[in-house]
């Protein structure tokens, strides 16, 4: 009597799966019959490895449980194979199979998590290198990344909230936070934004970054991303929220402030005086990268009386015989450099050196010798480019690069007045930005004295009263609409 029911149920499940995945030629449905009991093992080719010893143990256990006539017989048997759980709905069956796990179907269906992991091993950090500090980087596997964070924060308050996002990709996403430290409104905000979004595919964490970004149009990044586990761990301790996305080593961190982008994790692994000096240097480099070509244009076109006479004579001598106006000269060199940089990033490393030779020799030296650009311009573009590489974060560097061109145009139209105007607008713009409700310039605006221990400078770790925590929460939307 019972036997009948078993087979009917089993066949119903199998039929359902076959119907859903009829087109998949990599679907494996492997019936194994022992003592008249047929158990179906369903998985995708090459994702699950079934060893005969394991199967023996499985069937012995299944028969034993059968005799005891317990409800959970199959689950108990499956636990011999690996971590298992019951699956109730057809959707779950599909999920199990598509997630590279094993579905065991008998009188019911059980998911066994023994799927093989196809990700690479933990590698070295590629984007935010440090001289001193941990070298390992996140990988593409959300499981491995989770483990790396757990290793760093052996804290019972470390919480992982799992989401599956992307109607087409079904990507695993984990929202990580330290309960108690993290502000509840931040967490709710992040979860709400992630859950409400109808997003078809999540192939990289940037797909979610757009969901977390502020609604204002801006070139500035308002979500931090890194492949360094130590940075994420530090962020969690400060009460921030990390979002790990399966398939990318770049983990997101919110809320993030402007200053996060000019801070490096290495600042905390060095003596504080050295780290502070280097931070100041980065702030300086921010302004150099943003303004140097613009100021040069403004001074040479509008405010020649400001340049010391000897320098002016030297600049004038260099410009003798240059056929282009200064603006065109700057744009020519800047765009050439951007082309070189972009080519350098995309090219396979074997060809990369060729680009640098062409860039340095042909464009740098030959352009000057041919009298197309002046020496001073090459210096200006070089110092700008070098300053741009100082930022530990690629995201801010690229925003600054874009803004540089805006400032060049302003300078060529209005001189120093234009630059000042641009800076006023820039500051105005920065103050309107927020990262999930925290003002982008927190520490400066709104002013926070305690934050200053870790903003421009880095105080000694033992002198800091407490870790920097995000204290102010603003409902920026409310502020904006209220005006």
């Amino acid at each position: 009597m019972r036997k009948q029911v078993d087979i009917e149920q089993t066949m119903a499940i199998i039929d359902k799966i076959k119907k859903d995945l009829y087109h998949r030629e990599d679907l494996v449905i492997r019936p194994i019959t022992v003592n008249d009991q047929t158990v179906y093992f369903i998985y995708l080719t090459n994702t699950v490895e079934l060893k005969s010893e394991d199967l023996q143990v499985f069937f012995i256990r299944l028969l034993v449980e059968k005799k005891r006539a317990k409800e959970t017989g199959l689950l108990q048997a499956c636990l011999q194979l690996g971590p298992s759980e019951k699956q109730q709905t057809p959707h779950d069956y599909l999920n199990t199979i598509l997630n590279h796990q094993l579905l065991v179907v008998y009188d019911e269906a059980v998911r066994v998590n023994i799927g093989k992991n196809f990700h690479r091993a933990i590698g070295e950090v590629k984007t935010q290198e440090v001289v001193r500090g941990p070298r390992e980087a996140f990988t593409e596997s959300v499981v491995v990344n989770q483990a790396m964070l757990r290793e760093r924060l052996k804290n019972k308050q470390l919480m992982f909230q799992s989401l599956t996002l992307g109607t087409e990709t079904g990507t695993d996403v984990k929202v990580v936070y330290l309960a108690g430290v993290c502000k509840k409104e931040h967490l709710d905000d992040v979860l709400k934004r992630l859950k409400e979004a109808q997003i078809a595919a999540v192939l990289e964490s940037h797909y979610l970054e757009t969901l977390l970004e502020t609604k204002v149009k801006t070139v500035f990044p308002t979500v931090y991303n890194t492949e360094r586990p130590d940075v994420i761990a530090a962020g969690l301790l400060e009460g921030r929220i990390a979002v790990i996305v399966d398939g990318t080593p770049f983990v997101l961190l919110v809320p993030c402030l402007l200053f996060d982008f000019i801070q490096s994790s290495e600042d905390y692994y060095q003596r504080s005086d050295i780290a502070s000096a280097i931070r100041m240097l980065r702030v300086l480099s921010l302004f150099i990268a943003l303004l140097t070509p613009a100021v040069f244009i403004a001074l040479t076109l509008f405010h020649q009386e400001v340049i010391p006479t000897a320098l002016l004579v030297s600049l004038a001598a260099q410009r003798e015989g240059i056929p282009f106006p200064a603006l065109l000269e700057v744009l020519l060199m800047e765009i050439t450099f951007e082309l070189l940089r972009e080519a350098g990033v995309r090219l396979p490393s074997a060809v990369g050196s060729a680009v640098s030779i062409v860039g340095a020799l042909v464009l740098g030296q030959a352009a000057v010798e041919a009298g197309i650009v002046s020496n001073a311009m090459v210096i200006i573009v070089s110092i700008t480019a070098i300053s741009n590489f100082v930022f530990p974060s690629y995201d801010l560097a690229i925003s600054i690069r874009l803004l540089r061109f805006v400032f060049i145009l302003l300078a060529s139209l209005f001189g120093l007045v234009g630059i000042t105007l641009g800076l006023v607008l820039l500051v105005h713009h920065l103050t309107t930005l927020d990262s999930i409700g925290v003002s982008y310039l927190t520490g400066i605006a709104p002013y926070d004295e305690t934050a200053h221990a870790d903003l421009w400078v880095r105080k000694r770790l033992d002198k800091r009263q407490h870790l920097f925590t995000i204290r102010h929460v603003f409902k920026r939307d409310k502020v904006r609409k209220g005006v």
Binding site: T300, L301, F302, H303, Q304, E305, T309, A310, L312, V313, S314, L315, A316, A317, Q318, R319, E320, G321, I322, P325, A326, S412, F414, G415, L416, V417, L421, V424, L425, H428
Partner: protein, 393 residues
Amino acid sequence: MKKVCIKLVLLILLLPLLTSCYSQTELNDMMIATAIGVDKSTTGYEVTLQVLNPSEVAGTSGKTTQPGISCYSESGETFFHAIRRLTHVTPRKIFLGHIRFVLFSEGVSQDGIIEPLDFLMRDHEMRSDFALLVSKDISAKKVLEVLSPIEQIPANKIINGLSASEDFYGPSLEVELEEFYQHYLSGGIEPVMNGITVLGNSESGKEMTSLEQTTPKAVLKVKYIALFKKDMFIGWLNETESLGFNYLINEIDNTVIVVMTETGAYTFEVTKAETKIELVKPPASFNVVTTLNVTLGEAPTGFVKGKEGINQLTSLVEAKVGDYMSSCVDRLQEEQTDNVGFGQVVNRKAPSVWKVVEEEWETLFPTITVDYQVDVEMTHNGQLSDDESEDEG
């Protein structure tokens, strides 16, 4: 978005309110002038510009044997007119933002220079930190045409030489436009300028061959102070009077003083000099208090005998400095022009008296009495050991 647009438009509308240089000029579209010379011409003014030839001064390639500067002259009814008429002869737009000095010939300055000065004050392109000079016994044009060795820009040579002479010897004074104008406008003080001249043959000084020998055929020489009454040149001070003038207006930084004794000439280096003009009895009695720190720089005997010897020498220095200043004041009284600013002292110390005498200060000035009190302190005698002086003493 609309709001942002409005804000942007508002900000751009604010731009015209800002006073600033508006029009843009490429560096290779302009000619950098380093000095302006002003002479009299039949129609009005003849203006000479000394402009730079950048690639000769600073270029790395394409250097020829051309001089680092060129000069262009043109005349006009007014100074400004002449400057604009210069565009007839200049190859590019003239940029006056970097001029080091404006040079007036004696002829022009005797007639008054307020018209050119007015243009120089008004023009927006100028930095007002350039010096004003008078050329002595030669036209301004000829001075500007002279080439100088080492320093390729003769204007720089003049200004550097002037400040060196002012800082280390004393009878010269770099007067900038604003200072001159202030003294011109305010009562109780008359302006001065420094003089400059050419030694040698100024005609051959124009040629590059002049520089191809160890002694150039013409040398630019910084002269002494030129006295002005209002905007009109009235005469030259000589070297001692100029030194006295600079002592009086407290502009001496470092100089030397030679005093004669029976044993020979002693030379002192003044390392610090401070002068205060005190009003003893308004409006016509003054006391000039000068304190000097000196060191012995050169002595004929090789050493100085004891404390008394030093005191004897310092009193000679005191007398000499007093002479410098009195000779200057005597000269000014003779010319009836108060370039030191005794009138301003009256104005500052006794404003009520000044109101009464202000109108007739010009006639009152020649009658004022000035007493000189000079305190000299010798800080070092420059001797390596004091053994010998002890023995002799």
